[in-house]
Each structure stands twice: as structure tokens, then as C-alpha cells.
Symmetry: none
Subunit: 191 residues, 4 copies
Amino acid sequence: MQKSDKRDEIVRAALELIAGQGFHGAPMAMIADKAGVGAGTIYRYFENKDVLITDLYREIEGKVMASLSEGYATERPIRERFLHLGAALLKYFISSPLEFRYVEQFHNSPYGTACRRDKIMGKGGGCNAFKELFEEGVAQQVIKDFPLVILFDLAFGPLMSVARDHILGFVELDDRLIERVVEACWDGVKR
Amino acid sequence: MQKSDKRDEIVRAALELIAGQGFHGAPMAMIADKAGVGAGTIYRYFENKDVLITDLYREIEGKVMASLSEGYATERPIRERFLHLGAALLKYFISSPLEFRYVEQFHNSPYGTACRRDKIMGKGGGCNAFKELFEEGVAQQVIKDFPLVILFDLAFGPLMSVARDHILGFVELDDRLIERVVEACWDGVKR
Amino acid sequence: MQKSDKRDEIVRAALELIAGQGFHGAPMAMIADKAGVGAGTIYRYFENKDVLITDLYREIEGKVMASLSEGYATERPIRERFLHLGAALLKYFISSPLEFRYVEQFHNSPYGTACRRDKIMGKGGGCNAFKELFEEGVAQQVIKDFPLVILFDLAFGPLMSVARDHILGFVELDDRLIERVVEACWDGVKR
Amino acid sequence: MQKSDKRDEIVRAALELIAGQGFHGAPMAMIADKAGVGAGTIYRYFENKDVLITDLYREIEGKVMASLSEGYATERPIRERFLHLGAALLKYFISSPLEFRYVEQFHNSPYGTACRRDKIMGKGGGCNAFKELFEEGVAQQVIKDFPLVILFDLAFGPLMSVARDHILGFVELDDRLIERVVEACWDGVKR
DNA sequence: GATGAATGAGCGTTCATTCAT
DNA sequence: CATGAATGAACGCTCATTCAT
């Protein structure tokens, strides 16, 4: 509990600093400061900065996955499931701007290069929801017959861009707009 | 010619290093080394690292614009023009992987933050092709009635993602596939 | 005590190097080396080189002031007080050649330009002794009716020169000579 | 003539830059620029920066000497000759602020350390006017019996300080004030 | 002769990491 | 366990000097 306490403070501080200023704006000393711990303490919980950064990324990834599967019903029609996942993803990021900015920073960085494609689909972990959805959709000829990666691009590319523009203040998304955006994505992938 | 020689070497070296390793993986000394010039020489051509980086960005931007307007016919129907632009963009990046990676690095960095939205559309210079296209399309009710930014997201989000996946080797794009991808993007934005 | 240890070593090293070789002969790395600390350590104690330099200056200034006010009796006649202050200043610098050389370097440097006139008189702090002395002397018509600055020049100009010549070995000052020099200065300012 | 032309431009540029910004504010490239010559050209006239700087110093020294001997009459009484020299020196510097600032910069710098005492008295060259004056004055018991160096300090210390304060704008000297200041200096050295 | 592009050693400063307390 | 002072390699940048033209 005590231990987790400090760990959480560190992770939180790293999240805020990196989301706000990028990796270059988040020296270990500053993270420690913001977390209210000694600089050396970070190294009790994370072997080094890289580990801290990738661990934090994976934590966020997990939370995203969790939010996607919430209320997800495998038995619903493909279109409906797509709309659910897309909206859930968009809403999650919109309501967690720090996490979103962090994920973006992470992906465009040496850290993120390695795990590029594992991105949202988390090839190792639990939630292959999207993957299954696409494969099923292609099989049923409901979704365009593209390689899986391209389907991901068609679906996530716009969603991430829209989320970014909202967070940066270029658009103001509301539920209606979110819905329409996800539908537009569906138009992109559907046959 | 002589003069351009060194400048070009420097720009080339910066492009390769930054595209390959990101900004932090391209110290000035390494750029100089790779360019085969002394460290100080870079500063004859660029006031500082920031200027080098943004100049190089603008150079690439210019080349992208040029490739987009090539063969672009304002009098063709909107859909056709969209397909032209999309395919041209995709092809340009696919044939210039370093430039593509560089642009990506740039956008996710303190440098690129300022010009986020000017991105491809280059608000200052010549080619507002996309912008005009979207506005015209919305007016003619051929394109979904979204804020401009979102239309950009719907169109570029997937294109950039697809380009990245090709460059990273996750898909192998050919002309047919490119065409189909751009059509899918069109499905996303068209009414 | 521990803390002051390193700080003191740094300050001492800076003093010696700058007094001996001027500012350009005292790179941070060399100061660190001479102080027996790592280069980065200096920055724990001083924000940057400028701060180190001006802090050190103010430290010396303080010690000078202290030595001037020692045994200074406001109720003694003006001439006597002048002789006291002059001799004290001269003796202090003669017994602290490094401090003297440092102060000289400082005054002729971008750092010292700002505080030119505050020089010895330390307009902010305690010891406006000289200023008051001169003003009183002028009012009582004991001292020549010159602008204050010129009185300073007449008094300090020779004192600093003499101190420098002693330190550089051009004369050997003893108590008797000091006394006579200060009396000569008095002859310069007195009516 | 051609050759001297460039040399003069270089020297002038160096004088202005160094007087204005100190040595650190006068890189060779900037001097060359201001002189309207190529950077390499300076090295045709001066072996290196040190030589340029000391040559320029000696040039100024020569001009000071010349201005001192102008109208100097060895047969006049000592006091009168002192007043002449003092006023001439003060006036010269006041009317040549660049030269004055340069000399000051020079003296407080590694360059000047070597030639400290040669300063105004120019031990090698022509004009030992002051030296002779002082020696004569001491012999005639008109001037205080101090070592020569100290007499220099008593006379020049204040003069240089006053010149500086005028140039920096802390006092406004006019002929009357100059006269009085030099007389005060005389009071300092006279028996 | 004159040039100025090129050089690279050297500067001030930062920051991930260690380790004595 | 936790700390934070200490470290030093590495960074971006400057500038006296050289040398091909």
C-alpha cells in the first residue's frame, strides 16, 4: 500500500509531465519532484527511465482495453459492435486527455517504434476485439476485403486524429458528433 | 553548386538520422559526421538546430505540395479530385519513406506543435487544394457536413497510417491497393 | 557544514582562477576540477556561471564592508574617519590579493558594468560610510565641493591603483607607507 | 596606401567593437565584417588576435603620448607642468571615449597584465615626461617623497576614474571642472 | 593579395543514474 | 527502504584560425 502509493505518484507525475511537455520536458528529477519523492526512489520501482515509460504505456493500454470491452456484446451485429468500439475508444481518450497525449508521445518516439503494431490491438494481452471483429466482418463480406492492418488504419487513423484535434481545441466534440464520426469510419471500412 | 553541396549533405544527413532515430538520436555532431562536414559548418547554413529542422520540414512540405498539384485538374468532379490527391499523397510518401518518417517525427515534437493544423494543407502557401475541395464538396452536399478539421482527420488519418504501415513493412502496397485505400477514405467522407 | 564544504571549494576555486587568469581563464570545467568536484556539481549551488560570479562578488563586497566598519567611529572628526576608512580598505585588499584581483576583474567585465557606481559604496546594504562622510565633509566645507562621484574617484582611484601595484609587486607597502598614501588621498579631497 | 587602408579599417573596427562590447563581444569575424574585409584578411596584417589587440593598444598609447607632449614646456615650473599633463590626459580621453574604453578593457585583461606598469609612462618609447617630472619634483622637494609608482597611482588613479565616470555619464566634465580635478590631483602629490 | 567557407577544440549547461547516509 | 547530492558524458553552439580558390 505504502509502496504502491509512491509508485502511483511517480507514474502520475510522469504521465502529467510527459503528456504536457513531451519526453524532453520530463527529466527524472522533475518527475521525482512532482511525485514528492526522492530522485533515487524512482529507481526502486523502475529499473530506469525507459522502463518507467514503457510500463506507464502498458498501464494506459490496459485501461483502454478495459474501457473498450465494457458493455461490448459479441452477439450484436458487426456494424453495431464497430460503432460501440469506436465510440468507446474516442470517448475514452477524450475524457483522458493526459493518457491520450501520452500515448501519442509514446508512439512517436524510439520507445514506441518497437511496439507499433501491437498498439491498440495488444497482440499479447486480452482484447483482440477489433481484430476478431474485422476478421469476422471480412468473412461475412460486410467489411471491405483489406489486409487487417489497413482496416485498422482506416478505423483508428481518423479516430486518433479526431481525438487529437478535440484535445488540442480544434473541434469541440459532443456525443452526436462522436457518433457521426464513428459512423463515417464505418463507411470507410464497410463494404 | 559548391555551396549547395554541403548544405545538401547536411540536410540529407539530418533527414536520414532524424527519420531513423528521432530528434534525440540526431545530435548535431552526428549529423555533421554523417554529412562529412565539421560540426561548426552546419551553423553556416542554419542558424541553429531548430532552424535546420524546420527548414528541412518546409522543404519536404514543398515537395509534397508540388507532387499533389501535379496533374491536378480543378475542373474534374470532386470525387475524382479527391482520389487524385489521396493517391498522390500516399504515393509520394511511399516513395519517400525518409521524408514520411521525418514529417511524422516533426509533427510529434515541440517543433511541430505550432504548425499542427497547417500540416499538409499549408495554410500560407499555394496548395489549399484539400481545403477548397472539402468546402466545395460540403457546399455541393457531396461530402458529409463535418467541420473542416474532421474531414481532414477522416481523409488524412487513414492515409498517414497506411503509409506508415507500408514503410514499416506491415503491408505491401501496390497501385491497386493504394487506389482501393483512397476509395475507402472517400467512402468515409462522402455523403 | 558538509554542504558548505563543496560550495566553499567551488567558490575558492573560482576566486583563485578568476583572480589569476580572468574570466576567460576560468572555464566551469576547470573550476570544478580545481574544486575537486564534478562539473555538474557547481550547478547545484549556482544557477549558472553568471550567478556564481556575482554571488562571489557580493560575498567579497560584504567582507570589505565588514572590514571597513570595524572600529569605525562616526563621532570622530571627518579627516580621522577618512584616514580610517582609506587605511582599512587598503589593508583589506593588500591582505586579500585574490579578492582584490577578483574585484578588479569583475568591475571590468560585462558582469560589473551594471553595478559600476555601486562599487565599494554598496548603495543597497549597510555601509554608505564613504558617501555620508563626503556629504558631511562638503557641507562642513572641510572637503572640496565636487560632485560625489568625483570625490569617490579622487579617493578610490589612487587607493585601488596602489593596492594593485603592491599586489603585482611594484611596491612593497608597509603600515607607514599605507598611512602616508591615505594622507595623500586626503590631501586630494580636503579643502 | 591600399594596404594601409585595410589595416586602418580593421583597427578601427576592432577599436569600436572592443570599446563598445569588450573583448568577448568582438569576434574576428565581426571585426572583419565591420571593417568591410574578409575574415582571413585580418591575418595578413596581424599574426593573430592577440597581436591585433596589443598593436592597437600601442597605437593608442602613442597618440596619448603625442597629445601629452603637445604644448609641453620643460622649462615651466613643476606644478604648471603637472597641471598641463593632467589636463591634457583627461581631455584626450574625454574627447576619445573609444580609445579610453579600449585602454581600460585592455588593462583589465590577460593582455594588459604583462605591460601593467609600462602603461602611460611607456618605458620603452619616447615620452617619460611624467617620470622625469616626478623625479625632478621629488628632488626639489616640491612633490611628496613617494616611490615613483605611488606617485603615478596618486596622479593617474583619479584621472582615469574621473574620465570613466564622465564617459559613462556619471558626471559632466567641463573645462573648469577638469582644471579643478587636476588641481586636486596635484594636492595629492604635492608636498 | 584577398577571400570567406570550413574547421574542431572548447565552452556552458543538462540530466539519467549511483551510492553514502 | 528512501534519499538527494554528486557525477560526468553528452549536448548545442561559438569562434580563432586555416587554406583552396
